[in-house]
Symmetry: C2
Subunit: 355 residues, 2 copies
Amino acid sequence: MIERMPPSRKDALKRPTISDVARLAGVGTMTVSRAINGHPYVSESVAKKVQAAIRKLNYTPNAAAQILNGRPSATIGLIVPDLADPFFAVLTHAVQATARQHKYQVWIAASNSDAAIEKLELEQMVRRAVDGILVVSSKPNDTYFKVVTSTGVPMVAIDRPLEGVATDSIEVENYKGSREAVEHLIEHGRKKILCVGYNAQQSTIKQRMLGYREAVEAANLPVLIEVALGPADSLSLGLGKSLLKRVKPDAIFALNNIATLHSIEILNELKIHVPTQIALIGFDDMDAWRVTNPPITVVRQPVQEMGSLAVKILLDRTLSVGKSITRTILPTRLIIRSSCGCPPSAHVHLHVRSS
Amino acid sequence: MIERMPPSRKDALKRPTISDVARLAGVGTMTVSRAINGHPYVSESVAKKVQAAIRKLNYTPNAAAQILNGRPSATIGLIVPDLADPFFAVLTHAVQATARQHKYQVWIAASNSDAAIEKLELEQMVRRAVDGILVVSSKPNDTYFKVVTSTGVPMVAIDRPLEGVATDSIEVENYKGSREAVEHLIEHGRKKILCVGYNAQQSTIKQRMLGYREAVEAANLPVLIEVALGPADSLSLGLGKSLLKRVKPDAIFALNNIATLHSIEILNELKIHVPTQIALIGFDDMDAWRVTNPPITVVRQPVQEMGSLAVKILLDRTLSVGKSITRTILPTRLIIRSSCGCPPSAHVHLHVRSS
DNA sequence: CTGAAAGCGCTTACAG
DNA sequence: CTGAAAGCGCTTACAG
């Protein structure tokens, strides 16, 4: 027995369309459309027949067709440099949670800190008609952002403001947070504080470096900076050398999680004790910093709040294009654990989240 | 001066269409379409005019319209339970990297281990016409997967096979990896090995528990399991009690990263020394386990390979629907550090990735 | 090599 | 309350 395909079909499997539903329910496609979209003016009996047909066919509207008709997609895009960094992972989580409360989906994309990929993701999101884009940009001065704004898709810049385009942005007090951290080390009597990190050209890192520099200079201490221009991986060895041979610091200020991780790694390897021989404070917090020995004192960013606020600002913008651009700067918080030299006991608590 | 809007337009801003390009280039829309898609039979002079118009207008094709015409979207979906878990973060990274090599985009979504969200994400992806879906399912027996397969969108199950639908899957030797880990603890002379974790109902966790159980039973040691049914958060305290009051174990086998984290937290708080008083091995690796004191011995999954292979299998499936279903089971590896009782010195290396 | 016609699946006015 | 017509932006045959 030979199976015969309808000639116009290319695939055996196909999603049911609104016409299929209409036919099965014995009504016109318009009625189905109205029933789906909760339009009034549909008699109850008809609505029920339509619902039954929809369920029977497992019908879901074709998003492409809806979008082509100008309907919002109820989707926002989120572009982050690196999902493996806990900061962005938590940010993403918060964005998603907040978006869901507003019945929006989030299309997440990672750029790997690569401007070309970032541009591609942006382009895809525009082509796919997301209603707005949240972006932690790896290249805030990319001209492509202008193209995006010209299409009318609203953007909100998180962590790093965009240059050359007027968009809402959410930042953190990178300068102040760093300055406080370094001052804390100074209060502990540290005299040779080394600042280490990566991606020196990035705006947040620049601000953190500045915070370090001004704190140290204000105390008449030497400025000791070892920050790689590019992304992580290569500093480890260089840092090891700096520590031992050149600088012999009595404290380290690490500019982000990876820098903190690498610092601890080297210190362990060289059997340098923290905090007695070298104190350590890192920018950015993560779970594991609670369980290292000693636990790491950090500058914590209000990640959840950043993500959640970003969504709200973006959705607001979606509704009212005309409103003036906002710039939000959130405070950081110094979380004292014991790598800075503070006594450990006071800070060991068992936190059980109750949500 | 009153600005007049073209009456048919709803928004001031709008993306240029293929007609705009055609008009500007002085050709028909078909010619533009052909030029864009690299079709032959377009005279070079015309092609150039079209390209110029495209660039001038910053034209990009409307994805919705293309999809409606049945063109593949060059996008695959990826659904994971939780992006904040390093395992999934790295998996996601690998998926993306491999997809990019094949010119595919990845639409990432997190389900928060919530079946309802997972279903919603699946539905969205189908509605949005992704070419295939990679899923780490939080509810592998969800009937909705049948709906997805009925639409013809191929799926590949990662980490946890789907029940009731025939899809390719990639798993890991959870049983064997766990059994080896526990046997390693036994070789160290440990007699009271406690197995802790969360999500007891999940297939991978079940297999890991089984590996633990059979290793312990084979050695005539007591079976000591403290595994919560639901997700993390609540066990910490319970575990603390178990340790001290009830069980007094001399080793812990933690079933995943969170369980390992919580274990260390409790042990630190109770000032129980690892590995002398209690040895510890965790399932799943992450960067921070290298820098804790002591560094944590773990069962490592080949995360990169899982992600990369999953993409290849999925894209393969995209091309040839008929091929028979594959099931791939990848080996784990016991990474010896020192929390298990092994001497530390031999394993301290400085790894500098050269990529 | 190039274009007018028809249609992808839906929805927005427009008529009943 | 309901449906036939026209169109969203593109592409697949069909004619030149």
